[in-house]
């Protein structure tokens, strides 16, 4: 299968790879929200971590991804789009925007869905840790 240039670029030069600490360290940090979605047997696991400041703005985002090139590109792109956004604003990122930006073929749409799910999961984790109610909790895209 031919990958789009943008997918290849994210694969070769992934943006914001990493984490804000080990799984046990970030579990204790209230300024960090963690989303892990997918399963190894399905061939995709995405981990997204967001660092949120006191104004509720995402200051930094990091990802790790076990998955195909499109999954890596989707999560790498998600970190770029998250930085500087408010939580509510970040909730508005849709998988279809990722599909469009990366020119994902139909068989790879699930990668973008997974990226959207990981954004929602990270935000939900941050809110839960800080006792915040989920706002504008639109359901995740059906998949």
């Amino acid at each position: 299968m031919a990958y789009s240039e943008k997918v290849v670029d994210h694969y070769q030069h992934p943006r914001n790879v990493g984490s804000f600490g080990t799984s046990s360290e970030v579990a204790k940090r209230t300024d960090v929200g963690v989303g892990i979605v997918g399963a190894p047997e399905c061939g995709d696991v995405m981990q997204l971590q967001i660092k949120v400041n006191e104004q509720g703005v995402i200051e930094d985002a990091k990802f790790k991804c076990f998955g195909c090139g499109s999954a890596i590109a989707s999560s790498s792109l998600a970190t770029e789009w998250l930085k500087g956004r408010s939580l509510d604003d970040a909730m508005g990122i849709k998988n279809t925007q990722i599909v469009e930006e990366l020119s994902l073929p139909p068989v790879k749409i699930h990668c973008s869905v997974l990226a959207e799910d990981s954004i929602r999961a990270a935000i939900a984790d941050y809110r839960k840790k800080n006792g915040l109610a989920a706002e504008s909790a639109a359901p995740a895209a059906a998949h």
Binding site: G38, G43, V45, G69
Partner: protein, 412 residues
Amino acid sequence: MAPKLPIYFDNAATTRCDPRVVEAMLPYFSEKFGNSASRNHSFGWEAEDAVELAREQAAALIGANPKEVIFTSGSTESNNLAIKGAALMYAKAPAGQTGRGHIITAIHEHKAVLDPCKRLQREGFDVTFLEPGADGIITAEMVAGAMRPDTILVTLMWANNELGTINEIPQIGALCHQRDVVLHTDATQWVGKMPTDVERDCVDLMSWSGHKMYGPKGVGALYVRRRKPRVRLEAILDGGGHERGMRSGTMNVTGIVGFGKACELCRQEMDHERERLLKLRRKLESGLASRIEVCQVNGHADKRLPNIANVSFGFVEGESLMMGVKDIACSSGSACTSASLEPSYVLKALGVGDELAHSSLRLSLGRWSTEEEVDFAIEAIVKAVEHLRTMSPLWDLHKEGIDVSKIQWQAH
């Protein structure tokens, strides 16, 4: 010296047609274009002579009598003819009934064996699908344990296409002959690389293909034993009664000439080539295993073909690994590039965990593979695995001492 890129390490999928084979074929397109079934003129005679020479070359490679070689379009057709043809010939009850006879095969066979068996299952035959051990091998003991009084056919590949593992065909053949059961073996990956003697190895029916041994695509053969015991088949293709009525259709003379030449070259060069490939495969496997943590060579350590290496790399995903080694043409153990997200059913049959089955490469060497290519491949794969592991959350968990297989993942 840097090798020419991309490197072709997918010889188990198909091989380059040897230029000597092409040369042998060329006159049979436009000059010697006769139909081998034309008995009334020289065009037909020279085509027939060419087909009969190829039949001798094919028979010589496997220790058979030329009369026992039936030309087909390839292994898929040979497998279909052997399995369906034998089942119908030796059926214990007519069509429309159940209890028509028992067939033994294995779960990690090629689809060209599994699907004919499944069709027969729907048509009233009982089929046992043996499961290999962790080494991938089907033993004579496993077959003996599955035999029933109504067993009519055993069909097992000689060497596995994904793993290169070698089943105990000679021992299984001896067992089948004791019990008067027909043994068919899909020897597509075996013939041409390993010494074969259908008499010594007690094989009754054997499929193989031209394009897996440096011959052309679209031509193959089925060995059909003629004596001790004489094996008979119900034809699948009806028509002009070619190939002793077992395979009607005008002979692919050009392809058959190439097939014969490919058989001859394999016979002459096999011993030397086998040693050379084994050395290269061992270098490749040890090079990867010594430089990459959590890396496993799948299948039995020794009972494997000299040219196939199937290696799993923990905590990286197969398709992204393929993307990272784009200069190496090889196969992924995972079917992720298709619509299915299932890891290889062959690796699963061996009990390879999902996290490893998803990240396997099948690297298959061939006649033109060089040591420089092996060195290049090792470097490229090591680099790609390291790159992907810097991104892999599973690798982090593993490094933190967490058993990834024990985590409750949210099913997606």
